[in-house]
Structure formats: C-alpha cells, structure tokens
C-alpha cells in the first residue's frame, strides 16, 4: 500500500522564504541629508556609512553571519520537517526556527522604537552637556520607524540643518510574510502531531 505523502505546505513555503531572507537585503534604512550618513540594517546585514566611509565591527559581522547561518539551517529543517510532516522528528525540526522571523521582526521594531526615543529625548541633553563652546540648541527629530523630518543643531555661531529620512525596505515585507507563515506552519503542524499521538496510542 502506497504511503500517503503528508506535507505541511505552509512549512515548505516558510522554509523557502527562510532560505531567501538572508540574501534579500536590508530591512530598514535611515539617511541623513543626501548621503552624509546612513544606517541600514537587517538581522543579517548592518551598514553604517558616514561621509562615504563605512564603520565596521568584528563582533557585529560575526553575529550577523551566524544569524544568516541560523536562518538557513532553520529553512532546511523546516522544508525537511514539512515534507515528512507525520514523522516523529518533523515537529522538532520545524520548531527549531519557525518563530525566528517573528522574533526578528519584533526585535527590530523594539530596537528602532527605543533607539528613536534615545536619539530624540536623551541624546540632545548628553551632547548639550558636552559642548561648552557657547549656547547650544539641539533639535533632533528622528521619525518613528518611517518618515522624513528636519533636524538642526546650533552651537555657538554655527547652525547645522539637515533632513533625516527613515523607512522600511521591501525585504521587510518578506520577513513579515515569513513570520506569518511560521505561525501558520506551527499551528498546522500540531494536526500532524495529534495524528501521530493517535497512531501511537492505537499501536
């Protein structure tokens, strides 16, 4: 008797997205002026550029590399587990990485909100305290998550004005899709787990 192929199609889709995401590009970008400075980030890439010069961090580079590897492994596990969804090991393999995109999205948003709050509310008072050369007025307005605003800093007889633009990029939509598919995969996989439990009880 031919064994019926039990496939968790949500998991297959999720696995494919997990293999694509690490190479899809940045999720969010902030730009000061027209290239004066920029910050682009995703869980796999982080780029800080000031007047055309990149700032690197070995620690960040390695952490992002392993985040990439982690997503790729999770993608392979999800595809394997989903193609053989009724096997005893399928659920474990799928659970390894099924929530990773959701946590990545949530973490990014939390970091951005906290960072924006810090830059807008806390940084101006720190910088004011450091600058002793004449009166200082700092009007920093970084948009929350998405948008464009003008900021200016006056120190002594110099005023610097610029626009700050921030926003999510297209790969972020892929990440949200992966997060949603991940949740659906997990929920759908429970059906196979229930079937497996019922089968073992019968035996």
């Amino acid at each position: 008797m031919r064994k019926k192929l039990t496939v968790n199609w949500f998991g297959v889709g999720f696995g494919v997205l997990m293999l694509i995401l690490p190479f899809a590009g940045y999720w969010w970008r902030a730009e000061v002026g027209s290239g004066a400075a920029s910050l682009s980030m995703s869980p796999f890439n982080f780029d800080v550029n000031v007047v055309g010069i990149q700032i690197h961090s070995t620690l960040v580079r390695y952490i992002l590399l392993f985040a990439k590897i982690s997503f790729l492994i999770a993608g392979v596990f999800a595809i394997l587990g989903s193609l053989f969804a009724d096997r005893w090991w399928a659920g474990r393999l799928i659970r390894f990485g099924v929530m990773k995109p959701l946590w990545s999205v949530v973490t990014l948003i939390v970091v951005l909100v906290a960072g924006t709050f810090f830059v807008n509310m806390v940084l101006p008072s720190i910088v004011s305290g450091m600058v002793r050369d004449g009166p200082t007025q700092i009007n920093l307005r970084v948009p929350l998550l998405c948008g464009t605003s003008e900021s200016n800093i006056t120190a002594g007889n110099v005023t610097v004005r610029t626009t700050i633009s921030v926003g999510f990029l297209t790969p972020f939509l892929l990440a949200i899709a992966a997060a949603v598919l991940g949740i659906l995969t997990r929920i759908y996989q429970k059906r196979f787990a229930k079937k497996e439990t019922a089968k073992s009880k019968k035996e």
């Binding site: 000061v32 002026g33 027209s34 290239g35 004066a36 000031v50 007047v51 010069i53 990149q54 700032i55 690197h56 961090s57 070995t58 620690l59 580079r61 390695y62 952490i63 590399l65 392993f66 590897i69 982690s70 492994i73 005893w88 090991w89 474990r92 393999l93 390894f96 007889n157 110099v158 005023t159 610097v160 004005r161 610029t162 626009t163 073992s200």
Partner: protein, 166 residues
C-alpha cells in the same frame, strides 16, 4: 522506546546547535581581535578616517581675497559688484549657497550679498564669486569695513550656516 530516545537526542542536539549559533560568533569575534574588547566592538580605522575627513572642516583653510582691480560700479544703479577669489584648502568639495555680509562704507551700513545661486568649492582650487551691494558713491580705491555676516554652505544635503564676525 526508540522514538523516545531519538526525540531526546534530537532535542538535545537542536538545543546544542542553538547555543553554538549564539556563542560561536561572540567567541570567534573576540579571538580574531586578540580578546581586545574595544577592537572587537568597533574597527577604529573607519572612525579615524571619518575624523580626519571632518577635522578638515575649518574655515581657516579657506582664503578669501577681494579682487580690487576687478570691482565694477554702476553710477546709474548705485550698485557695486565685488569679485572675491576663494581658495579652498579643505579636502572635500562643497557648495556655498549664500553669503551676506554687513559692511561699513563712509559712515553708511551696506549689505553685501552673493550674486551667484551657488559656488562650488573644489579642494585646493580657486573659485570666484561676486558680492553685490548698493553704494551711493564709487567704492573703488576706498576702504570698505566688513562687519558681521553669514555664510551658508552645503555638503551631501547637510546645510551649515556660519555667522561670522559675531
């Protein structure tokens, strides 16, 4: 029974994999930089390069010379056109968008304004601009006292306004 053993082993293996994926990058990063915290957190070459580039932003590196022989004066319009040669010793290009200087000439206050929409300053090259002002007498050959003013420059979308003489 076999299933249970397999599940336990698989569970332990996946947990170990998760720990390794978190711990390995941190250990490898520190090991690559000789366990130096500062070097591991940020590569200082980039920061130094930025500091060098931005430390050149000093207006002592700019020389402004009035080309007195080329001053033009229109009696009918009471307008003088004063050419200025600017030499930029800075290491990067930027644009001058506005220049406004209050001058004093024969007891009168005159506002001198840049005529051009923008003047591009190329590193270590001369650039020319013209200041225009209303003079009721021919200022050529006479002393013009420069007072306060402001210069607006732009670089990569960042606009800097400098008030001079204050």
């Amino acid at each position: 029974m076999v299933h249970m053993k397999g599940e336990v082993l698989l569970g332990a293996g996946l947990r170990l994999l998760s720990i390794l994926l978190v711990a390995c990058p941190i250990l490898m990063a520190f090991q690559a930089n000789g366990w130096d915290l500062r070097k591991t957190l940020i590569e200082e070459d980039g920061v130094r390069e930025i500091e060098e580039k931005l430390s050149g932003l000093s207006f002592e590196d700019m020389t402004w010379t009035v080309l007195e022989n080329e001053i033009e004066y229109s009696e009918s319009a009471h307008e003088a056109k004063i050419p200025i040669n600017i030499y930029s010793g800075l290491s990067f290009q930027m644009k001058i968008l506005e220049v406004e200087i209050e001058a004093s000439f024969e007891g009168r206050r005159i506002l001198l304004e840049m005529m051009e929409n923008e003047v591009v300053l190329t590193p270590r090259e001369n650039a020319k601009m013209h200041l225009r002002g209303t003079f009721y007498e021919d200022p050529r050959g006479k002393e013009i006292e420069l007072g306060t003013g402001r210069i607006v420059i732009e670089k990569l979308g960042v606009i800097m306004e400098i008030r001079v003489g204050e």
